[in-house]
Symmetry: C2
């Protein structure tokens, strides 16, 4: 691989001139410029960005901590992040944490060793630990989709989860449901709490209440949705509607309900959250909350880049709009 010195030698100028030609051609006379560009062409020279980044002290890369890349919702968020990154000449280092703290520490550490200029956390844990935590104060970081519990110091790009869950509850109440089940996500997650709070608010407002026995923990996976539904169906008094906090669990739940010989929505209504592609291809198509996943990612990245650039982010807490998409998995209560 040729370097700047070789190009300089070939075109008979100094390395500085080559550097200038490539970074700001106006600083170089047309004749020289041409000579240099010809040499660049001949050698196929491409500036060594590792060296450039080292020289500038920046990596032009950001780390994204994803609990699970295989989750279609996160995939879409990542796509948005990447697009915004590429637009500004940044690259994305993918950190699939699998929800494990030690993997989070590992990837977050990259921001402390100049391998990344900042990070986006899609989970709810503070990713630094031990001595790293002290040094991490100055690391640009933003939360997206989730929120770090007990820490309001980082910008967050999220949905108005509480309102969205309220919309789900209103929808179900309007359909006449009185006895509802919920399959949540991990209990530690702030957005899970937001959604639950919003959902329960509406129930209370309608003089209903959530039976503790109909509140099941899930893990945002297909199989945990199926398990959750199983639990709810075998309750003494099963619910007539189930709110699942993501679409995968909802799909798992529908699967399980049908397996038991019941039908959706005739016997039980099911509502999801996220509106992943698969949601419109289930049988019946899933009623769910549409999250603008790509935009969430894009906005998170833009916010992060603002911080990296040294400016205060325009808003500390970006809330994007959701939309209740009513399909066929929710219907009138038959009880």
């Amino acid at each position: 691989m040729s370097n700047i010195r070789e190009v300089a030698r070939l075109s008979g100028v100094s390395v500085a001139t080559v550097s200038r030609t490539l970074k700001d051609p106006r600083l170089v006379s047309p004749q020289t410029r041409e000579r240099v560009l010809k040499a660049v062409e001949e050698t196929g020279y491409r500036p060594n960005l590792l060296a450039r980044n080292f020289s500038s002290g920046k990596s032009y890369a950001v780390v994204v901590l994803v609990p699970n890349v295989a989750n279609p919702f996160f995939s879409k968020v990542i796509r948005g992040i990447e697009q915004a990154a590429q637009d500004q000449g940044y690259s994305v280092l993918l950190g699939d944490t699998q929800g494990k703290p030690e993997r989070e520490h590992f990837y977050a550490g990259m921001a402390l060793t100049s391998q990344a200029d900042g990070l986006i956390q899609l989970d709810c844990r503070y990713p630094f630990a031990g001595k790293d935590a002290a040094l991490a104060a100055s690391v640009p970081m933003v939360n997206a989709c989730e929120r770090i519990a007990d820490d309001a110091s980082y910008p967050v790009v999220e949905l108005d989860n509480r309102s969205a869950a309220r919309a789900v509850a209103r929808h179900l109440v309007a359909l006449g449901h009185r006895r509802m089940g919920v399959i949540t996500g991990p209990a530690a997650s702030p957005i899970v709490r937001d959604r639950l709070a919003g959902f329960c608010e509406v129930l209370r407002e309608s003089n209903l209440e959530l039976d503790e026995a109909l509140l099941v923990n899930g893990e945002f996976t297909l199989s945990s949705g199926a398990r959750g539904a199983e639990t709810l169906l075998s309750a003494k008094r099963p619910p007539s509607a189930i709110f699942c906090m993501n679409d995968e669990m909802a799909i798992g739940a529908i699967h399980q309900i049908k397996k038991k010989g019941l039908s959706v929505p005739e016997d039980i209504s099911v509502v999801g959250f996220d509106n992943i592609e698969f949601a419109s291809f289930t049988d019946p198509p899933l009623t769910t909350i549409d999250q603008p996943a790509e935009e969430l990612g894009r906005r998170a990245m833009e916010t992060l880049l603002q911080i990296i650039a040294g400016s205060q982010p325009q808003e500390k807490r970006t809330k994007l709009s959701y939309e209740l998409v009513v399909r066929e998995s929710s219907g009138q209560c038959r009880d």
Copy 2:
């Protein structure tokens, strides 16, 4: 952020000694070691890896070109890649190409500017273009899942797609199907051709043939599967079984078939390919070919690392084993 000089000053040794203490502690005396480590502790020093990489001329990163991160199959492959990468101290730069050549060029270019030490291509296009192509000869690259058309010079980690498709065909023939439809992937893809070849082989061996009218192009997406099924159903003589070259298209196809009032597998059998998580949660659960996605990724990364390390890869063409998973979307032909 503190640097090695500061640690050296604080512990009263030279920078070289600090470097040695961290890279190979046996080279320094226990007392010195302790002094240095104490200074490291105090300052919270972490070596600047950007500088280290620059110094060593390697980035310890690889680029992965993915046609679509939101595809669950690729997500699993990526997870495998990442795991193998992390095991060996490498990081993964994600390049979501969206199948666009210019995005492939962009990301592939990172290997020419020392931003990456190699790349994994999950699509079937040669990712370098123009002058880059000449320089790219020495760039470590491996293909996974797909194969670059007309180029056998790069190692490939793939399934025995031909045999897998043969297994699908045998399964359908054994169920009595005589008239079959196929929803393929992009026509340019070598693996699509492999699968089609294998499928047709078995038909011929059974004295059947594939009606050209029942061969539809898809794009590996849910909606293209639905469109494909629509086309097949409105053929003059519709098929009694459809082979979809991935699960998403199969799920789209089932959706469309049911929408038309037909049932799977009673009226039409559907077989997919990949065995993504969703495949066991469809109604009916999908008969499909299980691809060891994570292992494909892991093996690809391991092969790439071998090449980066300078050794010839153990095998130029790694073929992993598949498994036909028979669920309920395929059944006896009723015609």
